[in-house]
């Protein structure tokens, strides 16, 4: 049978291995902290009508900025409303994509954490058009 000190290595080797494990754990903790910070400050940007409508959303899918150029406004209300919703969807898609990339890098693409983060995002990012506001049928209106 192998002597005890051979099976577990020398005290020096054991300490080196513990140091390496502690260092790896520390690196991972730093990576995860950075990931969490980056995740919370994620922004997505989407455009429509060329670049006449530009929307930015945060990680919750909430509108952070909305820019409408005068030439986009000239398309009329219905087209502009659709364009804003489309640009928001594109911005939310970018949040999803960037979140997936960041999470895959730190947690692994197929890890349970990556899946949980993706599910959480899917739940948070709403689908435009799901609400009750529809075109006004008031005579004289154009939407």
């Amino acid at each position: 049978m192998e002597p005890e000190h051979r099976r577990y290595g020398s005290a020096e080797e054991t300490l080196r291995s513990l140091d390496a494990a502690a260092e790896a754990a520390h690196r991972r903790a730093v990576d995860v902290e950075r990931w969490a910070h980056e995740q919370m400050s994620l922004r997505g940007r989407g455009t429509a009508l060329g670049s006449g409508v530009v929307v930015e959303v945060d990680v919750n899918g909430q509108l952070q900025s909305l820019h409408v150029r005068d030439d986009a406004a000239r398309h009329g209300g219905q087209t502009l409303a659709r364009a804003i919703l489309d640009a928001q969807s594109a911005a939310q898609d970018e949040v999803r994509r960037r979140s997936d990339e960041m999470t895959a890098q730190v947690m692994g693409a197929h890890s349970p954490t990556a899946r949980a983060v993706a599910d959480e995002l899917d739940e948070r990012l709403s689908t435009p058009g799901a609400g009750p506001a529809g075109p006004d049928t008031t005579p004289g209106g154009t939407w």
Partner: protein, 147 residues
């Protein structure tokens, strides 16, 4: 400690656990139920619908609201969205009071959380760098639906 004391203590602890589990279940059911809540906001004919997270989910813009140019209509959308978020926050709070009780800790937390979240300034609408400077082509009518 007697066996009887220990038994009573265990029964009490189990009761506490049951109550906590019941509260957690109610909280989860409530959270699911508010996901379908919507708030509506209006600004000069622009109508915005926001979900319980305050996210814009539907939007109607009268063409007349576009008359003063891109920045003006963007500001109307933002104002309507802020209005919609206040509306949904108030519905969520009402639902919290109804589910957990008027003076419950849960209702107070919900009220605070949604009020804080929904009262944040929504967005900036400043013009893009390449914003054309063309003046509005015509004045906006005073009342929505009247064009």
């Amino acid at each position: 400690m007697t066996g009887h004391d220990r038994f009573d203590h265990e029964r009490l602890a189990q009761g506490d656990l049951d109550r906590l589990a019941g509260r957690a279940r109610r909280a989860m059911d409530w959270r699911r139920s508010v996901a379908s809540l919507r708030g509506e906001g209006r600004a000069e004919g622009v109508i915005v619908v926001a979900d319980a997270n305050g996210t814009l989910v539907d939007l109607s813009i009268p063409t007349a609201a576009c008359a003063d140019g891109g920045r003006a209509v963007a500001e109307l959308v933002v104002r309507a969205l802020e209005d919609a978020r206040r509306d949904v926050a108030s519905k969520v709070s009402a639902s919290g009071r109804e589910t957990f009780g008027e003076d419950s800790v849960e209702a107070a937390r919900i009220e605070q959380s949604w009020r804080d979240d929904m009262s944040r300034p929504v967005v900036e609408t400043k013009p893009l760098g390449d914003e054309p400077t063309a003046p509005p082509t015509h004045a906006r009518p005073p009342h929505p639906g009247g064009w």
